[in-house]
Symmetry: C2
Subunit: 271 residues, 2 copies
Amino acid sequence: MDSWVDGQLAHALSLKDRGLAYGDGLFETIAVRKGTPILLDRHLARLLKGCQRLAINLDGAVVRTELLAYAQALGEGVLKLIVTRGESARGYAPDPVVVARRIMLGNPPATYPVSHAEHGVRLFPCATRLSLQPLLAGLKHLNRLEQVIARSEWQDAEHAEGLMLDQAGRVIEGVFSNLFLVRDGVLITADLERCGVAGVMRAELLFQAESSAIPVQIIDITLEQLQWADEVFVCNSVYGIWPVRAYAALSWPVGPLTRKLQTIAHALLDA
Amino acid sequence: MDSWVDGQLAHALSLKDRGLAYGDGLFETIAVRKGTPILLDRHLARLLKGCQRLAINLDGAVVRTELLAYAQALGEGVLKLIVTRGESARGYAPDPVVVARRIMLGNPPATYPVSHAEHGVRLFPCATRLSLQPLLAGLKHLNRLEQVIARSEWQDAEHAEGLMLDQAGRVIEGVFSNLFLVRDGVLITADLERCGVAGVMRAELLFQAESSAIPVQIIDITLEQLQWADEVFVCNSVYGIWPVRAYAALSWPVGPLTRKLQTIAHALLDA
């Protein structure tokens, strides 16, 4: 499907846009089913929180209206929204009256092997460590060189995702997913106050777990804790949940809480 | 002056470019005098080193030819070169045959107050700390949100630049400059193996100092060492050298080694 820039059909962006110059912006990757953007409120909430933290001047109501219209036209697929701070002259200081730019790109539905969800995946042990930057932690911003480098570490199809640690060796997330583990019935995911992307599916699963009285912990996770987990899975808002069967020398069965949450996630994505 | 993309007149870039999507690329900001790009070899060397580290497939000879032609057409001003990994489908993994894209933007000569160079500047104490990422340290890559946030910390004209520390509190660099200090006749600048941008003017000054038998140290710098410096200055390849007169409660005179190197830098930039 054709792309939109600020609500208009467009295929190109000004060379002076700060998204290109500095990665000065944010993005959202949204599953679209039957013309509906899935988990739209959570995507918008994260986007607007990011805009607030980066002082990007975006009209949330306009974005919502455009997302609904674009998704309607796309029908089935993946909608990528990029918001940049806008255009300005050379230099890091933005023009004080700069207005954010909205870019919508339509992609066909993601095609991952069905076995990823059914039988689980193996995670590649990425050597690339996430740097610590509390000012950017949690945001899905456009500065993604660490993920680009991490994803380049493996080419084989044996590994569906890679696991990233932070500079201190804590277990944080996948390259394009969040990570959960289950231990003694408790659902555990990494604290993302220093680095990482606070995924929309992660937020939804935490909400669903709390609604179902499943105990939740958001903590710093060590490799030892990962080793002793009963279940491990990764998630994102496009593919839902993949059970994790193996990481380096470690392995896990596909467990019951993973299956329970997977059913919930996939019901949302099959809406 | 009009912009070029891959050697052709253009004002816009594909929305699928990885420079926009992930900040997946590098840039150089080059002073141009009488149609000549100043310190061209050093800019090209840093760019190609960056391409090698990020595995970006760029033809150095083509870039050199284009830079010379663009500078000739620009005459006087600042040439900004952006190199992106190129275009690819959604997802961090690049298409293996992707070809880097070359973007050239022409700007008028920079207009800073003459007093910055003559009488020196005051540095704003930025609260934004540089994160540690050895994989990206030294490169002038497109992931520059830390600089955008740091530059937004002050708007007054009293501060010509800001000083950035790293997460461990070490003194690293300015927001758009490198920092040097002088102590007992030794020229000192920060080690940039963990973070920071290894500037072209910094490299040139280190070379000039060694050629003049001025002792040089590239080390971790503490705030205490800054306090006890005899002279402090910042530099980049557009404005040359600005003496630093003050930072927070600290102050320094404009010293003789600063003046000596400033004469060298400004001779290069007035070529």
